[in-house]
Symmetry: C2
Subunit: 486 residues, 2 copies
């Protein structure tokens, strides 16, 4: 037999040195979060810093200290800004310090949540059960933590198409369906639903985009007509996707109405609640999402309004067997080992696309325990009240124009000033948004409603204070005036 083998490891040669570095990193990270208000919301990455990221694959070690130093100098300062109290772009959470610590602990113990018998499964099961409690689905439902809303919607629609199909779609494929499936969404649907339908092989043309009412909600009469027309044309209506909190304006579909319609028509009812499912926690607004508890499946995000650090989404499916039957490659009758590490009847990898899975459940579990869900409910109310306040400030400022009813926590508006052609106002507000970002004081984002470019503030922020809203209005007025003077 050959001689001694080499004995290298990725463990530190000098544990005390790494420990010192870790403590330094913790102190600087907490400083970063504690002082977030003192920094610009956003600033561009300087060219000299950007150039550092052109270096080829490092063959030789640079060491942990140097790597951390480079992070601290090049990466930490030039962030997106969504940790900041005056960031209201797209629809993102801030994260929290303790949530970040959760990711550190998860990566330290580093289990594979795809399967096996270990305590992580109990943590994830509990978190998923908690999510069922939040949205009102039965505890026996299927569920899985996923990367976010896109994957949650994808999983749910995969189950919907398998459960409703006249053939074994997993074995035979979509082309074997006697009638092509149709999926019904409103025109305000999130683009990830289209992506899911395309990837599942149904083609975007199978997606029926139904008009909305003047509050940007699903038009139920138009939905009924579309379903009926498709049936008459020999197609098979499969699922209706309602939205709890649209990305453009925060509107919530009439979920009770959609649920009743789906029951009557025997259609799968899916709720994309990536934005608004958690409104069920808000004492004064939970009636908005009534009907969600009747859904066949719900997608929600925990890294949005619950501020768990990225990534954390969840999909829930009322019919647990249908959920498993869509993804499992382990036959029901084939138990895993009876005892030991490889035991456990139900592995999470049987409920989704991933086999290897990280321990994202931990940061959710820690965060929910830290704050309790009543507090998240109050913070959602706080953001909704802030959005109403911002709407009032916009209406009170003669030069600004509210572009849609304030939906949940989303305010769409623009600078109008002395007015102008539609093209002029679009160009002005587009430039205005860029200057807001470059100024580093406030960071809303944008959308287009009925051809009008709008500034859009989605207040998903546990750090925003009332005074920050006034600052947003001030900055928009200041820059708007400058731009209109030309």
């Amino acid at each position: 037999m050959a001689g001694e083998l080499t004995q290298e490891t990725l463990d530190p040669e000098d544990w005390p040195a790494l420990r010192k570095l870790a403590h330094q990193a913790v102190d600087e990270a907490l400083d970063y979060l504690q002082q977030v208000r003192q920094r610009p919301v956003w600033q561009p990455t300087p060219a000299a810093v950007a150039a550092q990221f052109q270096a080829p694959l490092p063959r030789s070690p640079q060491g942990a200290e140097r790597a951390y130093h480079d992070f601290h100098e090049w990466v930490m300062p030039f962030q997106m800004g969504n940790t900041h109290p005056r960031f209201w772009g797209w629809f993102m959470g801030n994260g929290t310090a303790f949530g970040a610590l959760g990711d550190f602990l998860a990566a330290t113990v580093n289990p594979n949540m795809g399967g096996g018998n270990h305590v992580g499964n109990l943590v994830e099961s509990q978190v998923v059960d908690w999510c069922k409690e939040i949205v009102g689905l039965p505890q026996g439902s299927g569920g899985l933590l996923v990367s976010g809303g896109s994957m949650a919607n994808f999983v749910a629609l995969a189950v919907a198409r398998s459960a409703g199909a006249a053939v074994d779609v997993r074995a035979e494929g979509v082309a074997a369906l006697p009638k092509p499936l149709c999926f019904y969404v409103s025109t305000e649907v999130h683009s990830c639903i289209q992506k899911a339908v395309e990837l599942l092989g149904h083609g975007a043309k199978s997606l029926r985009k139904i008009p909305v009412d003047d509050r940007y909600r699903f038009n139920l009469a138009a939905l009924a007509q579309a379903v009926s027309a498709d049936r008459a044309a020999g197609l098979q209506p499969c699922a209706v996707i309602g939205t709890a909190g649209t990305i453009n304006t925060g509107s919530v579909d009439d979920l009770e109405g959609l649920a009743a319609f789906c029951r009557q028509e025997r259609l799968w009812f899916h709720v994309d609640g990536a934005i608004g499912a958690v409104v069920a926690l808000a004492p004064h607004h939970r009636q908005l999402v009534r009907g969600m508890e009747q859904a066949d499946s719900v997608a929600l995000d925990l890294h949005k309004w619950l501020h768990v650090p990225f990534e954390a989404g969840c999909v829930l499916v009322r019919d647990r067997k249908a959920h498993r039957a869509t993804f499992s490659l382990t036959p029901e009758y084939l138990a895993h080992a009876q005892r030991g590490l490889a035991s456990g009847a139900d592995w999470f990898s049987d409920y989704g696309l991933q086999l290897s899975r990280g321990f994202r459940a931990l940061k959710v579990w820690l965060s929910f325990k830290e704050h309790g869900l009543d507090k998240y409910g109050r913070l959602i109310e706080q953001n909704i009240a802030q959005a109403q306040r911002l709407g009032e400030l916009v209406c009170a400022a003669g030069e600004l124009e509210l572009m849609a009813p304030v939906g949940l926590n989303i305010v769409c508006f623009r600078y109008r000033g002395q007015g102008g052609t539609p093209q002029e106002l679009n160009a002005l507000n587009e430039e205005l948004l860029i200057r807001l970002h470059e100024g580093g004081v406030v960071a809303p984002s944008y959308t287009t409603l009925n051809g009008c470019y709008c500034l859009r503030a989605a207040i998903v922020n546990h750090r925003t204070q009332t005074a920050d809203l006034a600052l947003l209005v001030e900055e928009v007025l200041r820059i708007g005036r400058v731009l209109q003077r030309g």
Copy 2:
């Protein structure tokens, strides 16, 4: 206008207390990793601990200290065990302390890597470029960090089917294809390929499982016959999926042969390198994966043999435009903003399923810089040498039986002792594995080869030392003898 709004936040009321807790957590996490060898590889979760995870949704706050305490008492001790030097189950990395710190830092700055103009994009671009360098794909290729091999393969196959289709599959769906597509794999293919093909809507029947040779590699002659037969039957061969490192035995297909065949037949050549793509870093074995650099797409995992904490996978696609065209819902001509936070021509969300994306790039970037890739290459060699040594120990022990040639770092063997019927030996080795796990000294996993239940040690472990292999053999012999005496 209404009165003052509430002003709650998820930030700690007492920053110094949270800071103290974070330092405690870092110390205990580093202790955990530094002392990993002193603990059992695996132990069951006691029933009293498991019962704790039945508690309903916490409505009231428990505080960070209590939440961390519960983690420390209930979660930390009952782990899967893949951080341990004597864990050789499935195919998992150990993780590293600095990698875990990377996840903490990523969650602290918490950017959304789906889009926008911020430095995280440069970090991920650089990491993806480094992955191209590792596998030998051109720097102009498309690429994306993903959750792991399952998603990497899914993305690659989605591009393959779109790129090769006679119709616009995204718009029209799979059913509109004039000829059904076929995908070619060996019988040793990983199950996630089947999952991907099913989810994409092609049906498992579109997957042709080609026999392997006696070293568990793709039989090229059988492949050529299958492609030719499908063409004759009016089907459209789409892609061949070669495997660099099969899950059962670690064998590597003849990638050069497959590449030449695909070029000649004008088929998409995908390499599932979740396990073995990184063998390209190993100075004495890189010739095994020669041909990978000719692939149209490659899936690799960084949380396996590179020991980045879960989740970290990567997909690379030679034809960047085809990659983007499969996923982007932003038309090419529609630029994002010209300057500011919303600028940037290329957003990562245009290259995959997810819109919101976490900063998993950071832990990879920090880890690669910490150690340099030459060291990872040496560690891969070390594991391969350890597998060879284990194979020798198995062969030298008369009571054990090597069940397949040692492929890369995977050793499949069983206890034979005095022999027995196939059923008896299967039952014996199944029970033997459970007792190994319950003993907590060593943790291999299992597979079935030609109907024989095997113990399977996949040595993906930067902490394993030579003496650990002898301990595995000793334990198997000890328990095997006990079981055979009955």
